[in-house]
Amino acid sequence: MNRFAATALTALVLVFAGLPAGAVTIGFAPATQNVPSGGLFTVDVVVSGLAGEVVSAYDLDLVYDASILSATTVSFGPLLGDVGASEVFNDFDLTSAGVADFAQLSLLSDGGLQGLQPDGFVLATIGFQAVGLGTSPLELVFDSINKVTGLGGQVLPVTAPLGSVTVPEPGAAPLCLLGAAVLSARTRSMKRALGSST
């Protein structure tokens, strides 16, 4: 996990620290982000709050606005098993516009998964390209087919906060950059002022 992801995961854990104890959460890291039009970027799908529970299998549909984003790749985390060692089945389907369907089924025992999985980790990383403008929600769908299983093959109750990705207007980008530069300059000047006063 790179430093950015670690930071995002920490932030995610902090954000949802107020949720009921024992609730398993699957969210996005980063939960929100701005990306330039045409840009490639990734979103981690992160589970947290396991607290001794495990993720033994899941089948998820990540729904997004196909007029803004297009899912291009799925890479799976290693904590349901090593696919090269025949410990897990992985599968994904990106052929339906606006839906990234991805799933894993671990062949490891419950005990093996408990030894492998920490309290929170990345299930999968979805690669996107920004193909339009605007803000696309990122939403995980849970229904009779899309579900997550834990110990004993039982379905886990999961909380899934929304995420979003914003692809701003091209004209707005310089203004944003300008605003950011002004903000940065003011911050620096304030720091300097504070520093000179101490």
Binding site: A57, F89, L105, L107, S109, S144, I145, K147, T149, G153
Partner: protein, 811 residues
């Protein structure tokens, strides 16, 4: 005239141009099917034995009789014995197949059709064989000039002897290459087809092209006097048939018959379809359901060897033989109380109703011995159970058989099944028309009955619809009456469906009919579902009231042993109904109709099983007692006065008299050969029966009945074992994972949580049930040392041989 012909030709041309008219359904077409009654086992004067019985009526007359017209019976001294001169059905049949013995079509033609020069002594027609045949056959058409039973038996045996040979050969009268008999056979076969074509009347009466393949195996275990009957009736779906009938001379084993039917019918003509129907399994000496292939050629002889069935053998048999004839005039073959195990150990069954028209002879010619244990595999219920055993082992059931019945009449009288009529007409010309039962080829009265009927649930009365219904086993058998029986299997038919006015429609829509397979249990092999069976019966308007309905279940237990049980599901077996045997007046009440939904309380989803229904009527007089009551009034009073005895029908007063009379004749015949009681050369069955006074007690009453074809249950794969390999491993979990999002079928082994959908939850639940860590496949066992070197384990022997060679060379 000329103009009319032109107009006709023009109209014909228009019709030809327009193409054939669309097929129209019959007026009584019903998607829920109608019951049609028929007889698929009928002999006429085209059968060499019927001719010897004095029968003159040909296939055309048989079909005419089936349609309700009268027929002249073989001439017998009727004034003395009270036999009928003519016969007529009270209720016409819906379909019939004339099934004459194909074996002697040609010989019959050669012997009975005079050649161009009848005086030429070299003509086969003038051979002694033919002269004897004509003397008996035509003599028996007037019993007062009959040469006598000795010649009859001699001629009969001369004809029948080849049938029992391992490779039957035709008589020399057939000429070089049997060409004369083959040509003659084709002529009779064509006439048989012509009669069927003439009689066939779509929507009203169906007549099938058919014949009987008459195989008899020598059975040395039957004390040297027995033979095993392995006959089959060959029924064709339509007009497309082989150009020649395939008899035992062309196909001496049933597997060869199927081979040739495959080549000359199924493969030769897309319109040709055929099935074969075994009968008289009770006379098969245990061969009817013996799970072997009997036509394995031997390299050193023209004979054949047996070998165990393969899956392909089982599939072939099941494809050609969807049904059996469970009763006909030579006894019922459903079941028997006193049986022999496959290793020859006597045992008793517990189903008391198996004592029904159950012949006490093992082969055609053996003496009857009361209640003697007979090989279990001569009986259908044992065959159905053996089918489950074979299916478990092979993956295919060779004995997946529906049930129908017929008469086997040799009088050209299809459907002549009423006890009252049979008493005065019999089924075999002068042989039983005399009722004195003296001709040695006839057994005692107990061994003969009026035969049964085939009932077919078909959409309409056409050859095709009826044939297809037989092929899918949606048929049932009756012991001669016409009760209406329906039988459905289901997982969810309402338990109170019989209260609904459209109960049959509901059961039909929610289940499968007789002859079919239950679909997999909705809950899978670990589910709690139990199969339900809706059975309904309506009394034959001309028959006795119903007493009860039973369901017979056979299954394979956890140890792989076949078991059976009989459940009472409707009616009342203790209803107290009976019949006064002196007057044949029925006593007590019964049911006009019965209906019930029965849920199997002992169902185990892991055990393959079959279920069939048995509808039983109140008791009535059997044909022999009916004869006595009809002729003498109150039988008890008549016997006290000595009236029956004075006219030679002692058996009205003594139920063993028929057997005693038979024994007298049999011992007289033995004496002519210098054999008497106590002589080691005497047939042991005769010794055990006639010499000891161990006589068969002829029943005076009968409980007519109907048997539905079974419904089978086959366990699906165990839950999670998607490939049915017997082990849950990653092949199965991969299949479940790949099937995510699909709907589960009933009993779907992938649907571990039973929610009707295939999801990762199912995959994970099954993963936890895997046989090995990470769902690895268990590797095959390593062969024992010494057999794993690719030389079939012959190395030790090769080394010994090599050592011997070396020693020999050294010395």
């Amino acid at each position: 005239m000329k103009n009319r012909a032109r107009i006709g030709a023009f109209v014909a041309a228009l019709i030809w141009i327009a193409g054939p008219a669309a097929a129209q359904n019959c007026p009584d077409y019903s998607p829920t099917r109608n019951p049609y009654f028929g007889d698929l086992h009928v002999h006429t004067a085209f059968s060499m034995d019927a001719v010897l019985f004095g029968v003159e009526a040909d296939p055309n007359e048989a079909y005419s009789f089936a349609k309700g017209n009268p027929i002249n019976l073989a001439p017998v001294p009727r004034d003395f014995f009270g036999s009928a001169a003519t016969a007529q059905l009270a209720r016409p049949l819906d379909f019939t197949a004339v099934t004459d013995h194909a074996e002697f079509f040609g010989e019959f033609h050669v012997c009975t059709v005079p050649p161009a020069d009848p005086s030429d002594p070299t003509e086969p027609y003038n051979d002694q064989f033919c002269a004897d045949y004509r003397a008996v056959a035509f003599g028996n058409r007037n019993v007062f000039t009959t040469p006598g039973p000795a010649i009859s038996v001699g001629v009969f045996r001369a004809f029948g002897a080849p049938l029992i040979e391992p490779v039957p050969m035709r008589n020399p009268i057939c000429g070089p290459g049997d060409v004369d008999c083959l040509a003659g056979a084709n002529i009779l076969w064509q006439e048989t087809q012509n009669a069927a074509a003439l009689a066939n009347d779509p929507c009203t009466f169906s007549a099938f092209n058919a014949y009987e393949w008459t195989k008899v195996e020598d059975e040395s275990t039957l004390n040297g006097a027995g033979s095993a009957t392995l006959h089959r009736n060959v029924i064709f779906r339509g007009d497309a048939v082989p150009s020649s009938p395939i008899s035992v001379f062309e196909a001496p084993k049933v597997e060869l018959l199927w081979d040739q039917l495959q080549q000359n019918c199924l493969d030769a003509d897309p319109d040709c379809d055929v099935l074969t129907i075994p009968h008289s399994m009770n006379q098969s000496a245990g061969r009817a359901f013996k799970p072997v292939y009997t036509a394995e050629p031997l390299a050193t002889s023209p004979f054949f060897a047996e070998r165990p069935l393969t899956k392909e053998d089982a599939e072939t048999r099941a494809a050609f033989e969807p049904v059996v004839e469970v009763i006909q005039h030579k006894a019922a073959s459903e079941c028997r109380i006193s049986m022999l195990s496959d290793s020859g150990v006597p045992f008793l069954g517990s189903d008391e109703l198996c004592d029904f028209e159950s012949s006490d002879t093992n082969g055609n010619r053996a003496a009857p011995i009361p209640n003697q244990p007979l090989p279990r595999l001569s009986y259908l219920r044992e065959g159905l159970k053996e089918g489950l055993v074979q299916e478990e082992a092979l993956g295919a059931n060779p004995f997946k058989l529906g049930m129908l019945a017929s008469t086997d009449t040799h009088n050209s009288t299809p459907g002549m099944t009423s006890e009252k009529d049979f008493a005065v007409t019999g089924h075999t010309g002068i042989n039983d028309g005399l009722l004195n039962i003296r001709v040695p080829i006839t057994s005692v009265a107990r061994q003969r009955n009026a035969g049964g009927l085939a009932v077919v649930w078909a959409e309409e009365n056409t050859r095709e619809a009826i044939f297809d219904a037989i092929d899918r086993k949606e048929v049932y058998a009756t012991s001669g009456g016409r009760p209406i029986v329906r039988f459905f299997g289901s997982w969810d038919v309402p338990l109170n469906v019989c209260d609904a006015p459209d109960a049959v429609d509901i059961a039909d829509a929610q289940g499968v009919p007789m002859g079919a397979d239950l679909p997999a249990s909705p809950g899978g092999s670990s589910g709690a579902d139990k199969p339900r069976f809706m059975v309904s019966s309506q009394q034959d308007p001309d028959g006795a009231p119903l007493q009860r309905i039973q369901i017979v279940k056979g299954w394979l237990d956890g140890a792989g042993q076949a078991q059976e049980a009989v459940y009472e599901v409707a009616g009342d077996k203790d209803n107290g109904a009976s019949v006064d045997v002196n007057t044949c007046q029925p006593q007590g009440q019964g049911f006009g109709s019965l209906c019930s939904v029965w849920e199997d309380p002992d169902f185990d989803p892991d055990q393959r099983a079959f279920y069939y229904s048995r509808t039983v009527e109140n008791p009535t007089c059997r044909w022999n007692q009916q004869y006595c009551a009809d002729r003498f009034g109150d039988v008890g009073q008549a016997c006290a006065a000595g009236t029956p005895q004075s006219v030679g029908v002692d058996w009205c007063c003594d139920s063993t008299a028929g057997h005693q009379a038979w024994c007298t004749d049999a011992l007289d015949e033995a004496a002519q050969q210098g054999l008497s009681c106590g002589d080691p050369g005497l047939n042991p069955d005769l010794e055990a029966s006639c010499c000891t006074g161990n006589y068969v007690d002829t029943p005076t009453t009968i409980q007519e009945r109907a048997w539905s074809s079974p419904i089978w249950y086959t366990p699906g794969p165990a839950l999670c074992d998607v490939d049915d390999s017997g082990e849950i491993n990653h092949v199965d979990t991969q299949a479940i994972f790949d099937g995510r999002g699909e709907s589960a079928t009933p009993g779907d082994p992938r649907d571990a949580d039973g929610d009707g959908l295939i999801t990762v939850e199912d995959g994970r639940l099954c993963t936890l049930d895997c046989a090995n860590p990470q769902c690895a496949v268990t590797p095959p066992p390593i062969p024992p040392a010494g057999t794993a070197c690719g030389l079939l384990g012959i190395e030790p022997f090769a080394l010994v041989a090599l050592g011997r060679i070396i020693r020999r060379k050294t010395s």
